[in-house]
């Protein structure tokens, strides 16, 4: 099993006629994802490699029965695209777009939450349930079906970690990049809740970074409620304060949100924290063994 997406998920691509949208629409379909349609306002009626294009999400949903959407539109148009999907009844919206103003996301999230739609991102690489469905931009080939859940604020660092898990023969149930922005639709906690309830996720790898306090809250949740083995890695131990490290959310602000704080909180909660990336696989194996899961 997996969380959020599987072989039955019907995906539509917002911004499908753009460079990124068309490239990744093909990539997702090639991986085996059911890409049932795309949306580009004004280009309805055309096709992208056989995938039908619609003017509106509502129109696409009506014709294709899509229940998930992935957004590749440019940042200024992303809030509207998220709301369009939510109002059209889409359950899961994955926003790849980078550079969405945080205040706009705060406004969008108020509305989306009331509609009951789950948003992943923005500034997310997407999510994948290996062998079943991939929604996003990650290279599918490095993944392997299995029982480890991966949740991360990063993109390529996630690939690095997933690849390592795969080489350690630790397949993944679902791997999710929740996005590098300060205001995001789905937080660590939200994903951990899902992994907790997924009977086929045995352990969780949590990849954090500087900025905010989501890792601290995740640590408390894991130790108090999740009761599944978890291993963490936090990027940015050497990041200087006050600088935005690539991700809009990766900033140590007034001495808060440092990697050390996060590592302390995780270790205090009994969660092993890898000091270097290559420790993640072995630590996970160890954690599974001591829980009797391996």
């Amino acid at each position: 099993m997996s969380i959020l997406i599987d072989e039955k998920t019907r995906v539509l691509v917002q911004g499908i006629t753009g460079r990124d949208g068309s490239f990744h629409a093909r990539g997702m379909r090639d991986y085996g994802t059911q890409v049932v349609g795309g949306v580009t306002p004004g280009k309805g009626g055309t096709q992208v490699d056989g995938i039908p294009v619609y003017n509106t999400v509502a129109g696409c949903v009506k014709e294709t029965g899509a229940d998930a959407s992935v957004i590749y539109v440019r940042a200024p148009f992303a809030p509207d695209a998220i709301l369009e999907a939510a109002h059209a009844g889409i359950n899961l919206v994955v926003a790849i777009s980078e550079g969405v103003p945080a205040l706009e996301m705060a406004r969008v999230m108020q509305e989306v939450t009331a509609l009951g739609t789950r948003v992943i991102g923005p500034n997310s690489p997407g999510l994948i349930s290996p062998g079943k469905c991939k929604i996003g931009i990650m290279p599918g080939s490095i993944h392997m079906p299995g029982k480890i859940g991966v949740v991360s604020r990063s993109g390529t660092l996630t690939y690095e970690m997933v690849w390592q898990l795969t080489t350690h023969d630790l397949g993944q149930s679902t791997a999710i990049g929740i996005g590098g922005d300060p205001i995001i639709g789905t937080r660590f906690l939200d994903v951990l809740r899902l992994f907790k309830d997924d009977p086929d996720t045995d352990g969780v790898v949590l990849l954090g970074e500087i900025g905010g306090s989501a890792e601290e809250e995740a640590a408390a949740y894991i130790s108090q409620e999740m009761h599944k083995p978890a291993v963490a890695f936090i990027a940015g131990r050497t990041a200087p304060p006050g600088k935005r490290m690539g991700h809009a959310g990766a900033i140590i602000s007034r001495g808060q949100g440092t990697a050390d704080e996060k590592i302390r909180a995780l270790e205090k909660a009994g969660i092993p924290v890898a000091r270097i990336p290559s420790e993640v696989g072995p630590l996970m194996q160890e954690a599974l063994c001591s829980s009797g899961l391996r």
Partner: protein, 385 residues
């Protein structure tokens, strides 16, 4: 993006918050003139994007315009936290009563803007937060409307028992929330808000940080960027879609992805090395991006070795390799280049590099980092001898 105190005060003034008039000048002579024109006792304040200006000697009182000129001269010679002071703000000194703290931020967890107030203003608010968190009162507010008047009144009453004074503070809070929303701030702070002995409340100091994503979309916000604070390398990086932050070390890093770039820096440190920079070439990287990245990195004379850590996804490893080869052809780079390529088109990339004979290959991130550190050491020694 950080903006200066005087810019923040202009914004607050625009939203109806009372601030003292003042003038930004670049020379001691101009400071003297400004002090003479404004009249009375003056404060001269360094305008740099750094905290702790007071402790660094960047804020001085002056009783006469001659003294203002003199103090400005001193401050304009300072370097605060590595940043030379190029501008000072000349503004009247106020006879003041109690000092309050008012600040708005974007609360990540609640995903809402939040107002914070404290009766302990004028001092480091982080210290108050760390030592006596109960002295800071917080309230979320609507991301469209801003703080409602009644919320502002409730909040003001937590820090000021007097009804009339609390009403005045509430008025400032509403305007502060509107300024925060209006300029897409990530932080908008008045520290301290002071009660003037002559009556009324005034923002004595002002600080606003802006959301870079909003700045990228709004020319009026982009116009607030201080050319003095610009870094040519960072500008160039931004122009090519790279994210670049200079550091102090000797190993130039080129990585795709912000998280991986941070992890790479951490790993360099872990193995005893010292990164010269943070550099994320982003997702869809073209050879040009790599050329630009190399130009920026090699402009730093401290760099002794270059480390590429590329996990190809959307990023194609052959593009990265082509970029390296092009850069080597166009500019003379006599630094060791350690390359780790994995993922999309890694094989093709390696072949391109092998043909040029330009790079030292590593199979994993950890091997690459260790090799880069070794090369930097060798290179450094080679130069010294």
């Amino acid at each position: 993006m950080n903006i200066h105190e005087y810019q923040a005060k202009e914004i607050f003034g625009h939203y109806g918050i009372r601030v003292h008039a003042g003038k930004v000048v670049r020379t001691a002579g101009e400071a003297g003139d400004a002090a003479q024109a404004l009249g009375g006792r003056m404060v001269i304040k360094a305008q740099v994007h750094a905290g702790g200006r007071g402790k660094a000697g960047g804020i001085k009182l002056a009783d006469t315009w001659e003294e203002a000129r003199e103090k400005a001269d001193g401050i304009l010679g300072l370097t605060i936290k590595g940043i030379p002071v190029r501008k000072v703000f000349v503004t009247p000194a106020a006879e003041i009563g109690h000092e309050y703290y008012l600040g708005a931020i974007l609360d990540r967890e609640a995903r809402l803007p939040m107002m914070m107030v404290s009766r302990e203003g004028g001092i480091d608010i982080e210290e108050v937060a760390a030592k006596t968190p109960e002295k800071i009162h917080k309230l979320h507010f609507d991301p469209y409307h801003g703080l409602r008047s009644f919320q502002a009144r409730e909040l003001a009453h937590t820090i000021e028992p007097d009804g009339r004074k609390a009403l005045a503070i509430a008025g400032v809070l509403v305007k502060l929330s509107q300024a925060f929303l209006g300029v897409h701030a990530t932080l908008a702070e008045i520290n301290p808000l002071v009660e003037l002995q002559a009556g009324g409340f005034l923002a004595l100091d002002a600080k606003i940080n802006l959301d870079d994503s909003a700045v990228a979309m709004r020319s009026d916000l982009e116009a607030l960027r201080d050319p003095d604070m610009r870094d040519d390398k960072q500008d160039k990086a931004r122009e090519f879609g790279l994210s670049f932050i200079p550091l102090e070390g000797n190993i130039g890093c080129v990585v795709n992805g912000a998280g991986l770039a941070m992890a790479t820096m951490d790993l360099v440190k872990h193995f005893g090395g010292d990164p010269a920079n943070f550099l994320d070439i982003g997702g869809s990287s073209s050879p040009e991006k790599v050329v630009t990245a190399l130009e920026i990195i090699t402009a730093d004379p401290r760099v002794q070795a270059i480390l590429f850590n590329i996990f190809g996804g959307i990023t194609r490893c052959d593009h990265v390799a082509e970029g390296i080869v092009t850069a080597l052809r166009e500019t003379k780079i006599d630094l060791p280049i350690v390359v780790r390529l994995t993922g999309t088109n890694a094989e093709r990339g390696r072949k391109i590099l092998e043909e040029s004979g330009a790079a030292i290959f590593a199979a994993t991130m950890e091997e690459a980092v260790q090799e880069a550190i070794r090369q930097a050491g060798l290179n450094d020694k080679g130069k010294r001898t």
